[in-house]
């Protein structure tokens, strides 16, 4: 059952959109458990419910039934303020569309989570430069984010996701907007962080090649898990 290494787990997670005759079950009783330092791919076609699952895992949405347990805490029982704090200091987000403020400098984009957390300017700058160095963008710190290439923009996003030393990084189609060569570099960077810093990596994708690089694949179809296979560890997780 729940072992001490579990960072995030779901219990019969259900999400229903709409009401009565318009009711649509996006997620139907999903049970998954993800360990610390694991890299997991959530696979599925569009409309399968994979994005819904990621939103629920990242506490951006509230389940209609079941619960999400993060580091032993039932998220649905936490007050809103604490959920916000949890997202701020435990999670990192990398999106397909980057979501960076084009007119701001690279540095100020990267330090946004720390600004939200209320950390002092000096500390923000110090840690901002540190993560920019980690993604090899130190010399672009003062540049406007708009002047960067796609791959550089995604590296800014990764730096932003890294800055609060998260235990989990959620990546929604991180390579979807990049050419394969640049995409490869981004993937390398993400898996390197996964290995070196033991950051749990949860990637939503429909790219099988990327999924194959993960420790585990969670496949979703019509709101339910269809198969869970381990590529590396060879241990089959239970599917309930």
């Amino acid at each position: 059952m729940t072992n001490t290494d579990t960072v995030i787990e779901t219990r019969s997670l259900t999400r229903v959109y709409g009401k009565k005759e318009n009711e649509f079950v996006a997620l139907n009783g999903v049970n998954i458990s993800i360990n610390k330092g694991e890299s997991v791919a959530i696979l599925g076609k569009s409309g399968s419910g994979k994005s819904t699952l990621m939103h629920l895992l990242a506490l951006l949405d509230k389940p209609s039934g079941g619960s999400v347990v993060i580091e032993g805490q039932d998220a649905s029982k936490l007050p809103k303020k604490q959920v916000d704090r949890l997202r701020n200091d435990t999670f990192g987000f990398v999106f397909q569309q980057f979501f960076i403020n084009a007119n701001d400098t690279v540095l100020s984009n990267v330090i946004l989570p720390l600004k939200i957390a209320g950390i002092s300017r000096r500390e923000r700058t110090r840690r901002g430069l540190e993560v920019l160095k980690a993604v090899d963008l130190l010399e672009k710190a003062k540049n406007k984010a708009n002047n960067l290439s796609g791959g550089q923009k995604q590296r800014v996003c990764i730096a932003r996701a890294l800055i609060n030393n998260p235990s989990i990084i959620f990546a929604d189609e991180p390579t979807g907007n990049l050419d394969s060569q640049t995409g490869q570099k981004i993937e390398d960077l993400l898996f390197k962080l996964n290995k070196d810093k033991e950051i749990t990596l949860i990637i939503v994708t429909h790219d099988d090649e990327l999924a194959a690089r993960c420790d585990r694949q969670i496949r979703i179809k019509d709101g339910s898990l269809i198969k869970e296979a381990d590529t590396e560890k060879g241990v089959s997780s239970e599917v309930r």
Binding site: L60, K81, D84, R87, F99, K115, I116
Partner: protein, 426 residues
């Protein structure tokens, strides 16, 4: 998010669409500018009136007149042989006699009573030998008019002292400066002995003033009494010692309630008492009413401007939907998002009002200078517009409050944004 960071973020957000923000600020600016000028006029005129009426030191004064009944509402009044009237042109004034004086003196709360006698000289003659008609006001202790040269009247002096206006000083053959210390002759007609001459010394020259511009001069008590004595010699006893108004002194620290009860007591005896504040009050009410109407127009301008703020911020919220979603996904609390947009609204109000207030003050200074050289030339010290710090600060604060209120609607919408929807938004 720290408050400093919120302010900084809001301010850089405001500068993101410069033209739009500028136009909104301009709308607020117009309202603030108008408010500054209208309030400036109100404050300027009020402070001038306060100065002119020598408000300082005369709080213990109650001007008592005989109560005249209104013939329209109460019907014609029965004739009373004990009462006398002074007819001055079309206005007939009920006089207060010696008996009345005692009644007033015996009223609770009144410390002393002095009749205000009305000297009525025929002419005044200066160094150039020409005689001029003049109206002289008897000086009331505690009310000091502004003096251009010389010194104010000494109420306790046994000399005949006189203040004349600049115009009279020049007409009599002096200048404003040289008139001081000169002796003039005043002609008074006595009913018994015919015209007589009283000598008086000019101790000072009065500034031209809106309030006392009808009088050509002011006499001290001794001079007033001397003139009055001559003009009443030979009059029947019943007509002596009559004055249209008397000055009653009350305790300077009397509360409003105490003053009111004295007024009520006087009213029962058939007299009307008015403090200096009451008298200024009437003029002030008129000015306040005018300022209120002008402020109403400024208010309309501000109302229009507040819709501008609502519009600007709604557009900003729409444009920054993704950004708001991202910040919320990263753990920014809804209340902070609300604060962020509210601060932006308040900033628009702040800059608009600050610009308006400063430009309003600048234009006010120019108007004051122009006025001082033209239509207010004869009224030195009359600043048409005044800008007390408190009223300026109040204007800025009120406008910032209006801006905040206007901003709550868009700010609420921003804070309610669902991060998932916001991030999906194209």
């Amino acid at each position: 998010m720290k408050f400093v960071d919120i302010i900084q973020t809001a301010s850089s957000n405001m500068l993101r669409s410069k033209v739009r923000s500028f136009l909104t600020i301009l709308a607020i600016f117009i309202g603030a500018f108008t408010l500054t000028l209208t309030n400036g006029i109100g404050a300027g005129v009020s402070s001038y009136l306060d100065n002119q009426l020598g408000n300082i030191g005369a709080e213990d004064m109650l001007i008592v007149t005989a109560q005249t009944s209104d013939p329209i509402s109460s019907g014609p009044e029965e004739y009373d042989p004990d009462q006398s009237f002074a007819a001055t042109g079309p206005i007939s004034m009920q006089m207060i006699g010696t008996k009345d004086l005692e009644k007033i003196r015996d009223t609770d709360g009144i410390l002393s009573v002095e009749p205000q006698i009305t000297p009525a000289p025929d002419f005044i003659e200066g160094s150039n030998g020409k005689k001029f008609r003049i109206t002289v006001q008897s000086h009331i202790e505690g009310i000091n008019a502004e003096i251009a040269s010389g010194k104010p009247l000494d109420a306790n002096s046994s000399d005949h002292q006189l203040l004349v206006t600049k115009t009279y000083a020049e007409t009599l053959g002096f200048t404003t400066e040289s008139a001081v210390g000169k002796t003039v002759s005043i002609g008074v007609t006595s009913p018994a002995n015919g015209q007589q001459i009283v000598e008086a010394r000019i101790v000072g020259v009065l500034e031209q003033s809106l309030i006392s511009s009808t009088a050509g001069g002011q006499s001290n008590t001794t001079l007033s009494q001397a003139i009055y004595d001559i003009q009443t010699t030979g009059l029947p006893e019943s007509q002596k010692g009559q004055s249209p108004q008397v000055i009653a002194r009350i305790a300077p620290d009397a509360t409003e309630d105490e003053v009111q009860s004295i007024k009520d007591d006087l009213s029962e005896l058939g007299f009307a008492g008015a403090t200096l504040d009451d008298q200024i009050g009437i003029i002030k009410q008129v000015i306040d009413a005018i300022v209120l109407v002008l402020n109403f127009f400024a208010g309309i301008a501000l109302l229009a401007a507040s819709f501008g703020i609502v519009n600007t911020l709604f557009m900003a919220v729409q444009e920054r939907t993704k950004e708001i979603g991202l910040m919320k996904a990263m753990g920014m609390r809804s209340s902070r998002v609300f604060t962020l947009f509210s601060i932006e609204a308040i900033m628009l109000g702040f800059w608009g009002s600050l610009l308006g207030v400063f430009l309003g003050m600048g234009v006010g200074k120019i108007i004051n200078n122009v006025a001082a050289d033209s239509f207010l030339k004869d009224f030195p010290g009359f600043e048409l517009l005044a800008f007390p710090t408190t009223s300026i600060a109040t204007i800025v604060l009120i406008i910032m409050t209006i801006a905040f209120l206007a901003g709550t609607l868009p700010a609420r919408r921003a804070s309610k944004k669902d991060p998932i929807e916001a991030l999906r938004y194209e």
